[in-house]
């Protein structure tokens, strides 16, 4: 009835970790609310905006850019923001609440694997969302980012910042519902400052200044700069690094498995 399987060290083999990732991915698909909001909504917005004629006309006020081109980074950041704030935090807080992590801590598999699995799944979905949004916006005739290195760097830092905030929510929220609530309460103001309702280029000076210091505002700033062909400003990148480091550190300190 038993089979001896040999692996080194005290931990199960990595194949077990990937099995966990696969199971968690299936669970995410079975409750697809987060997927639909994080990936589906930006795509829907992209399609709507893409068919608004005025959004496709170059404007002198915007230095010859179209409104649609301004939305490329905003919609990317939409997907990353929702995945980070809600996608990462909700399952972890829920698993802690239900005792799933506690039960797992009784097996040789470390519960930190669950954290790793959630990060990988949300990163995977984030990549997918970025791909679809950027290909979609290209299909509507907007050219791709001219400073690819800066664009990729800004994307990575945006993920680091927003996922760190998501982990912080997972650390402080006592249940999945609380995590969801905190995530959404943070998400919509952040998206306001990221320019979802009117792009940063159209914001009055004060608002834009505040936006520069928000994680998603800084991300859109950096992405837009790179899209136009310049390397993102040090401030925009450092703001994201700051959020990643500060919230990451608090999350590590406060995170409890039970």
């Amino acid at each position: 009835m038993t089979a001896e399987r040999v692996y080194s060290g005290g931990r199960p083999p990595w194949s077990a970790f990937w099995k966990l990732v696969a199971v968690e991915a299936k669970l995410a698909v079975r409750t697809p609310v987060v997927l639909m909001l994080s990936v589906g909504l930006p795509i829907l917005l992209l399609i709507i905006f893409g068919f608004v004629p005025s959004f496709n006309e170059p404007l002198a006020d915007l230095g010859g850019l179209t409104v649609l081109s301004l939305y490329a980074p905003i919609l990317s950041v939409f997907a990353l923001g929702f995945l980070g704030l809600v996608g990462v935090s909700m399952p972890l807080a829920g698993y802690r609440e239900q005792g799933v992590l506690r039960r797992m801590s009784c097996t040789p598999a470390p519960p930190s694997w669950m954290l790793g699995a959630q990060l990988i799944i949300n990163l995977g979905v984030a990549l997918l969302a970025l791909l679809v949004v950027n290909l979609g916006i290209k299909a509507f005739g907007v050219s791709g980012p001219k400073q690819v290195g800066g664009y990729v760097l800004a994307t990575i830092l945006c993920v680091a910042a927003i996922f760190a905030i998501g982990l912080w929510i997972a650390a402080i929220a006592r249940s999945a519902n609380v995590a969801n609530a905190i995530g959404q309460v943070l998400f919509y103001p952040m998206m306001f400052f990221a320019g979802l309702y009117f792009p940063r280029e159209m914001m009055p000076g004060v608002l834009r200044h505040v936006s520069d210091w928000t994680p998603l505002g800084a991300a859109v700033n950096a992405l837009q700069t790179a899209a136009e062909g310049r390397f993102p400003s040090a401030q925009s990148l450092l703001v994201m690094v700051g959020y990643a480091v500060v919230f990451g550190a608090i999350a590590v300190k406060q995170f409890k498995w039970e």
Binding site: T2, A3, E4, P12, P13, A16, K26, C106, P108
Partner: protein, 314 residues
């Protein structure tokens, strides 16, 4: 050889002393019962044993390891069934078992476990759609899938119907027969009597007695015992005055008389003389329940506000 040793375990939650100086050892291959009312400190004790909680003081060795500092090495050999079965609501039975199977170096065949626990037909069912009993059985399967040397089972049959309870008992005996040492936490007397080689009676954080189920029962009353339901109220002295009678206890409607000699006849005659008939008469040796009442002065299922506070915390 002792496979688990617990010495002077102490655990408090604020003002509440959940476990108050508990010591016991569990021998290899036995089913060791921890029996007591809700809030007695049973769950806290075993959670310390498996390393889920850290005791305030005391020493624990499981398979020669310290659950606090050597928990990593312990997990491979100690299977745990927690009181609440906890899995993501939309995981399928088969997925959960396969996943946990992959976590262990040495593992039991998941398909056979599903078969043994009568869950084969539920392989593709979501966890949230299982009945209470099915969740419980899956939880047992997860505790056994790592082919443990020690299995800690907390409230094994709570929420199961009578048939499922008996099936589960048989399963646990089968597991024990394969050489697995089992700690069984329960508040069911019949479960402890049926399964356990030795039982620790726990009350208010202390072990009040530790013996085989028979030994515990014998320790209470050496003589015989008569249980009956009287047809009418009567004064205890009617029976306590009899030379054959040593003690009388009332358990709800039922009356339990301990004594020696020709106890049954003496009791029935005395009652008849007072115009009382003894109905549903049972004879026998004292049960574990009698032992518990006698050792703690109260029943297993008596409510107790203070203790329930402890249970909420534990």
């Amino acid at each position: 050889m002792s496979i688990i040793e617990v010495e002077q375990l102490l655990k408090t939650y604020g003002e509440v002393v959940a476990v108050d100086g508990v010591s016991f050892s569990v021998e290899e291959g036995e089913i060791f019962g921890i029996l007591g009312p809700n809030g007695a400190g049973k769950t806290t004790t075993v959670e310390c044993v498996v390393g889920l909680r850290v005791a305030d003081s005391g020493a624990i060795r499981v398979l020669g390891l310290d659950p606090r500092t050597e928990r990593d090495r312990m997990r491979e050999d100690v299977g745990v069934q927690l009181q609440e079965s906890v899995l993501p609501s939309k995981i399928k039975v088969g997925e959960a078992l396969d996943l946990y199977y992959s976590f262990y170096r040495r593992a039991a065949d998941p398909d056979r476990l599903l078969d043994l626990l009568g869950l084969s037909a539920k392989r593709d069912a979501y966890f949230k759609n299982l009945s209470g009993g099915q969740k419980q059985r899956l939880s047992i399967a997860l505790a056994l899938v790592g082919d443990p040397k020690v299995a800690v089972l907390d409230e094994l049959t709570t929420g199961l119907d009578p048939q499922a309870r008996r099936d589960t008992w048989e399963l646990i005996e089968g597991v024990r027969d394969r050489g697995v040492t089992i700690i069984l936490v329960t508040h069911f007397m019949d479960e402890a009597e049926r399964l356990c080689d030795r039982v620790a009676l726990v009350d208010r954080g202390k072990i009040v007695a530790l013996d085989s189920p028979d030994g515990l029962a014998r320790r209470v009353h050496s003589g015989t015992l008569v249980r009956f339901t009287p047809s009418a109220p009567f004064d205890d002295r009617l029976l306590t005055d009899l030379p054959e009678v040593q003690g009388i206890e009332r358990q709800g409607e039922r009356v339990v008389v301990h004594g020696s000699g020709d106890l049954v006849n003496a009791v029935i005659l005395a009652l008849a003389a007072a115009g009382v008939t003894a109905q549903k008469v049972e004879l026998g040796a004292p049960s574990l329940e009698d032992a518990f009442v006698s050792l703690t002065g109260r029943g297993l299922h008596d409510g107790n506000g203070e203790d329930e506070a402890g249970e909420v915390l534990s």
